[in-house]
């Protein structure tokens, strides 16, 4: 293990460059004045951003994605938080089955999920409808909510709930005044993950979007087939900023929750 000390810092630096560089390039290209992708850009220009904000073809999918993600957050957080509260108290055998079903979208290849849902939803008329996307995205987002809330619950002292109940609080009162405030960071982190899961989702959208419910990733995908126009770099940069902000919040929330728990 002492060899680790002499591990050249340059190697690690180069690998980190490999990780971050592609993202930096997209951001830089989005501010380029050139129509074609040249690097470094000849001059700084916001034309690709004005192209994006001036185009109904880009704004419509953006609003749809935000709408679908918001609805997914509500549904996934509500169902996921309730389920996490229940699962923690289920008998072991039942708990394993329930957790297996809820967490399975994390390991089932997404193409299998996507075409399975497409197969069923095309019969219910849910292809090309935002509702279909919300239902599918909720299934993909729920594992993050359940794991996040479960982690908060596991870190909670069960005596706090018992104390509230024995002091005469109703189960409902105990939940809203004791349990919920304690698991709130876990619920919020789960909600943020649910938002990003839906907002960035492409494979399910490729099958379910049809022509009536084109999401932003779907619009980007369609565009990339025909051209590589720096407008996509501008859209990408905006989504990077949004996801980094939200995930950064989730990261800080979780770090703070961990500190409270271990304090």
């Amino acid at each position: 293990m002492t060899a680790a000390r002499f591990l050249p810092a340059t190697v690690v630096g180069l690998i980190l460059l490999f990780l971050a560089f592609p993202i930096v390039v997209v951001v830089v290209v989005s501010f380029s004045s050139a129509t074609y992708l040249t690097f470094p850009p000849p001059a700084f220009d916001l034309r690709w951003y004005s192209a994006y904000f001036g185009s109904e073809d880009w704004l419509r999918p953006t609003w749809l994605s935000l709408w679908v993600a918001a609805a997914t957050v509500v549904l996934a957080t509500l169902l996921g938080t309730l389920a996490a509260l229940g699962i923690a108290r289920l008998p072991r055998a039942l708990r394993v089955v329930a957790a297996g079903l809820i967490l399975s979208p994390l390991i089932v290849p997404v193409i299998v999920v996507a075409i399975g849902i497409y197969y069923a939803f095309s019969r219910y008329g849910l292809v090309g409808s935002p509702i279909g996307l919300v239902l599918a995205h909720t299934c993909l987002a729920v594992p993050f909510v359940v794991t996040s809330v479960s982690a908060s619950l596991a870190g909670m002292d069960p005596r706090l709930e018992q104390a509230a109940l024995s002091l005469g609080a109703t189960p409902g009162g105990t939940f809203f005044q004791v349990t919920l405030p304690l698991i709130r960071p876990g619920v919020l982190v789960g909600a943020l993950f649910a938002f990003i899961t839906s907002f960035d989702e492409l494979v399910v959208a490729l099958f379910l979007s049809g022509s009536g419910a084109v999401t932003l990733p779907r619009r980007m995908w369609d565009d990339l087939r025909f051209q590589i126009d720096p407008t996509i770099a501008a859209v990408s940069t905006l989504t990077i900023v949004l996801t980094v902000l939200l995930m950064g919040c989730a990261h800080l929330l979780r770090r703070r929750a961990e500190r409270i728990r271990t304090a």
Partner: protein, 264 residues
């Protein structure tokens, strides 16, 4: 209600039922909109057009399937090895240095939080005929004509290693942080990357070669052509392969946590 009342028979029954009632809405939701749809689709592999195992039997001498299946496994192996090779030193550095750890973590998380679509697009920008890599090599006089990098298997491998690298680094760093670092716990990064790589669709479709397609791409293609029986069979094979690999590794202590990691 007092603590003593909580032991009344009616309350005991309620306490038993409450957890199930809380979990039931989500369980029913996931059965209706996820599990039953996927299971019904997979059934087509044995029920289309008539009940038989002919789709599975057909795979034995299906040259297209075999080529695609091996290509998918091969790509996953290369990507896993590449990610391990690049990920291990970074994980080590992340754990060993106090001063640089926050910066290293940011540089890992920044791409981690960026969508697969955007990262694949970034590689299109870098590897294109007039992309950054070619322009730089031409300017340096190392090339006379631009290299074909985009739309080759190499492009898929590089972009997939880039996308999956954080999934390798974070579990290994977690394992190294333990007082008693176990190999099994570190191996959860390898398992996670391999299983995720098996199902890749967007990246190989965007940057990969036109002839080196993955199982996921073949499945999508078959659905487009409405060959549901064949698409369902391929889906079952892909799912079974992923589950078999997880099951084989699951006995190793610490591995079970691989899929609990929700840092994304």
């Amino acid at each position: 209600m007092s603590g003593r009342d909580a032991r009344a028979p009616k309350d005991v029954a309620w306490r038993r039922a409450a957890p199930l009632l809380l979990a039931a809405p989500l369980l029913l939701f996931m059965l209706a909109f996820y599990a039953v749809p996927v299971a019904t689709m997979l059934m087509r592999s044995v029920s289309d057009p008539v009940w038989s195992l002919s789709h599975y039997a057909g795979l034995a001498d299906d040259a297209v399937f075999q080529k695609v299946f091996w290509n998918t496994l091969y790509t996953s192996v290369i990507v896993t090895l590449g990610a391990l090779l690049l990920g291990y030193p970074v994980a080590l550095a992340l754990v060993r240095t106090r001063r640089w750890a926050p910066l290293i973590l940011i540089l890992i998380l920044l791409p981690f939080w960026t969508s697969v679509l955007v990262r694949s697009y970034a590689w299109m920008v870098l590897m294109g005929r007039h992309g950054l890599i070619n322009e730089a090599l031409l300017a340096a006089g190392l090339l006379e004509r631009p290299l074909r990098i985009l739309n080759t298997p190499l492009a898929t491998q590089i972009a997939m290693i880039h996308i999956l690298l954080p999934y390798m680094i974070l579990p290994i760093a977690n394992a190294l942080r333990q007082i008693d670092p176990s190999l099994a716990r570190a191996a959860s990064g390898v398992l996670l990357v391999f299983v995720l790589a098996l199902g890749f669709y967007i990246t190989p479709a965007m940057v990969g070669g036109p002839r080196e397609i993955t199982l996921s791409m073949l499945i999508a293609q078959q659905v487009d052509q409405l060959n549901w029986g064949y698409a369902a069979t391929l889906s079952a094979v892909l799912l079974a392969t992923a589950l078999a690999i997880i099951a084989a590794c699951y006995r190793l202590p610490g591995i079970g946590n691989a899929f609990r990691m929700n840092t994304r």
